[in-house]
């Protein structure tokens, strides 16, 4: 049996064993082959585990949380971790663990929905700009540059100020801020892909521009987009937490990690767990998502794979 690296083609000379590799790979679907590469990346597996844990927390919050996250006085106020309250209680005597578990819901919903929104819009803009070029490209990309000019948190604060508070508005504000990076990443790859001979070959076959974009260009630029999405989810969660920290998130008493950290500031000396425990939850989630994103990049991006 060869070294495990060999299946990657890393340790192998390029030409000769290609046939063996192809034969070995033929039995596996593309997804299985990807999984074999992914599973070897420890950081990515850890990231995936964290992500699944957060998803489970969000999905089963009512079952998992020991107390009502909004109910005050379920324990003595500002008490550190005990057997009754594993993560302690906050200044209102609310159970921190329950609030963290429920907080995962908002973090995930904002992270995923806002990224999906910005991905769809950004990818479409990037495809159009990259494929057609010319003035369409110039107009779209200048608008994107304009969006890029604002730090995302400032843009979000401005939008929240106009639209008002609430989860929906946080999602919209974060999504608008992330359109530009998706458009840029997509356009950059489209520019490379559209010069590929197979695009010319499709054009020669009489395939229309829209069909070429949908069937030939888009499938060839998905890897960087998926990676971008995975990495942006953590960015979206950080932005959401930042907004909540500043008091621009969902109004209290909604359990949100960002506002929980903010609430603990006044008690940071006497009861440091009120700020730090949600902070650790946020940090672990972000690190996990970033590791997952990096793992996806390393295994999905064909340029890094070869």
């Amino acid at each position: 049996m060869a070294q495990p690296l060999d299946a990657d083609g890393l340790a192998l000379p390029t030409a000769a064993p290609a046939a063996d590799l192809a034969a070995e790979d033929r039995g596996l679907t593309a997804a299985r082959r990807w999984w074999r590469r992914f599973a070897r990346n420890r950081g990515a597996v850890f990231g995936l585990a964290v992500f699944l844990a957060v998803v489970a927390m969000a999905a089963f919050a009512p079952v998992l949380s020991p107390y009502d996250p909004i109910a005050q006085g379920v324990g003595p106020p500002s008490q550190g971790p005990t057997w009754a309250h594993w993560a302690g209680t906050d200044s209102f005597g609310r159970d921190m663990l329950s609030r963290i578990i429920y907080g995962a819901r908002i973090a995930l919903v904002v992270g995923i929905v806002s990224v999906l929104l910005s991905m769809v819009i950004g990818v479409v803009l990037g495809l159009v700009a990259g494929y057609y070029g010319g003035w369409i490209d110039a107009v779209i990309m200048r608008v994107m540059d304009g969006l890029f000019a604002f730090p995302i948190i400032i843009l979000a604060i401005a939008m929240m100020a106009v639209m008002g508070f609430g989860v929906k508005n946080v999602i919209i504000a974060v999504a608008v801020g992330f359109i530009a990076p998706f458009a840029r990443v997509t356009r950059a790859d489209v520019l490379a892909v559209k010069e590929e001979p197979y695009i010319e070959a499709a054009r020669l076959g009489g395939v229309s521009s829209l069909a070429i974009i949908a069937r030939h260009v888009l499938p060839n630029v998905t890897a960087p987009i998926i990676v971008q999405a995975a990495l942006r989810v953590s960015g979206a969660i950080i932005t959401e937490s930042g907004l909540s920290f500043l008091g621009l998130g969902p109004p209290p008493p909604t359990p949100v990690w960002g506002s929980m950290i903010a609430e603990g500031r006044n008690f940071i000396v006497m009861a440091p767990h009120i700020s730090t425990i949600p902070g650790v939850a946020l940090m672990v989630t972000i690190v996990g998502l970033n590791l997952l994103g990096d793992g996806l990049r390393d295994t999905l991006d064909p340029r890094l794979r070869r």
Binding site: R26, E196, P197, A201, L204, G205, G206, P219
Partner: protein, 323 residues
């Protein structure tokens, strides 16, 4: 030749830029008949590929400018609009490229790529198209084609990928196949197989083939007629046997001398110098700075293409007239 499939007349391809107009293809005229394989040879930059792209309307204008006439079965393609061209491309005229691996979409199954063009041009049900895709792959010599349609391009070797490309090309039964350096990226043994396949398909289907190549060796085996281009112009055109046994243009002679294995000489011949750039065309005959037979008038007077043999035309002052 009665009713050629493709008749190109006075084709000119120019590129307009800030510092003037560069004429990359200059008044090129030729025909390709049904079932005929015509070779288009010349060095890199001679205008071979541009000529074939101009035929299919693939040159971006601007910066390009294409004039002349390209008649395909009587219809002038240069005047045709994009929609009319899209109907012809892939159906009646197919093109295969130099780099077969890169000409296939890496994330699309082979079968899907084969049926894509067919679905546009042939009004047939999906499952019948899929059958056809398998038939086409079988025809171009891909073993266990029924299983291979589910494979991705990276699972094919270069030669097999070129067979797939040829299969895509012929799937709608075109009357003209333009093959631009179809075997350049393949090794010699595979080259021979692929060329034999193209020749066989041309014969079976009565398909006209325009074979663009810089390799006279390939052309000598494949073609009925050969067109030699130099610096954007046709310098000689003749049936393959005539061209090799009685080349009329010094450039053709020089090219033939560069082929290995003739005359039993130890050293390979080479043509001194480089082909002139588009913006620094020599006056008179464009080949005269590199020509070992050049006379004073070659530098001033431009030779016209004229009849120099029964079926042979050449653009050289020194070629004998109609022998």
């Amino acid at each position: 030749m009665a009713d050629p499939v493709l008749a190109v007349r006075d084709l000119v391809v120019e590129f307009v830029s800030d510092d003037g107009v560069a004429r990359a293809v200059d008044e090129v005229s030729f025909t390709v008949g049904r079932g005929e394989i015509v070779g288009l040879v010349g060095e890199s930059g001679a205008g071979k590929t541009l000529t074939s792209e101009a035929i299919l309307g693939l040159i971006r204008c601007p910066p390009g400018r294409v004039s002349g006439e390209v008649r395909f079965r009587g219809q002038n393609l240069l005047g045709a609009d994009e929609r009319a061209l899209a109907l012809i491309r892939g159906k009646d005229i197919a093109m295969i490229f130099q780099n077969p691996g890169a000409s296939l979409n890496p994330v699309m199954r082979i079968g899907r790529q084969l049926t894509e063009a067919m679905a546009i041009h042939l009004a047939e049900a999906r499952h019948r198209l899929r059958r056809r895709a398998v038939d086409v792959l079988t025809k171009v010599g891909i073993p266990s084609a029924a299983a291979r349609v589910r494979d991705y391009p990276h699972q094919f070797s270069g030669g097999m990928a070129q067979r797939v490309m040829i299969g895509m090309g012929i799937s709608c039964v075109p009357s003209l196949l333009i093959a631009d350096e179809p075997t350049t990226a393949l090794d010699v043994t595979i080259q021979a197989q692929v060329l034999a396949l193209i020749r066989q398909l041309a014969r079976e289907m009565g398909m006209a083939v325009l074979l663009v190549s810089h390799d006279l060796g390939i052309v000598s085996q494949m073609c009925h007629r050969v067109i030699v281009m130099y610096a954007g112009r046709i310098v000689e055109q003749a049936p393959v046997a005539t061209l090799f046994h009685a080349p009329a243009h010094p450039y053709t002679r020089a090219l033939i001398a560069c082929l290995p294995g003739r005359d039993g000489e130890g050293r390979l011949g080479a043509i001194p110098g480089m082909m002139p750039g588009l913006k620094a065309m020599p006056t008179g005959c464009r080949f005269h700075p590199r020509c070992d037979k050049a006379e004073p008038r070659c530098a001033t007077e431009e030779p016209k293409l004229r009849q120099v043999g029964a079926d042979q035309i050449a653009a050289c002052h020194l070629a004998k007239s109609d022998g």
